[in-house]
Symmetry: C2
Subunit: 95 residues, 2 copies
């Protein structure tokens, strides 16, 4: 078994209203920050999966991302591999 550290980025789909992003964009104007637009607020979930190999780990993460971490009607997700095996020890210690 090897440990793989992944990040799942969940963002509102294009065309879906994002009130949090809108609110943030509105606040920036009041703070005198200009030239910022298209603010979209999503989630980022980082997790470690123990699996025999990377494809097996990806299957687990893919299932989690599609079924639990995102709402497929309004959200899109993408998966990033952050690290494999012993190099994740430091990152996982914080949990």
């Amino acid at each position: 078994m090897t440990s793989y550290r992944f990040a799942v980025n969940v963002t509102p789909k294009p065309g879906i209203l994002d009130p949090q992003g809108r609110a943030m964009e509105g606040s920036l104007g009041h703070l005198g920050i200009v030239g910022v637009s298209g603010v979209r607020v999503g989630r980022r979930v980082e997790l470690t999966v123990d699996a025999a190999d990377e494809p097996a780990a990806r299957v687990t993460v893919e299932q989690l991302a599609a079924e639990l971490l995102s709402n497929p009607l309004i959200e899109a997700y993408d998966i990033e591999l952050l690290a494999a095996a012993s190099s994740i020890v430091g990152a996982a210690r914080g949990t």
Copy 2:
């Protein structure tokens, strides 16, 4: 002026308690998903910055990330450049 699309990933610092991540980890067990650990839940903010060049755009994003998007006591952030110039038109349309 060129438009640059960035993502800011904000995650709880190592060692900082993450109740949302803990709750998610606990739920996985009940759902019969095993081998997942070290779940940390953060935010991902995507935004477009208009600036003269990429370093200038990064200065704006860096300021936003440090002062507005994250709480420096308990959160860490990292910045990703997603795309520059005309290639962002499609991505920004969803806002």
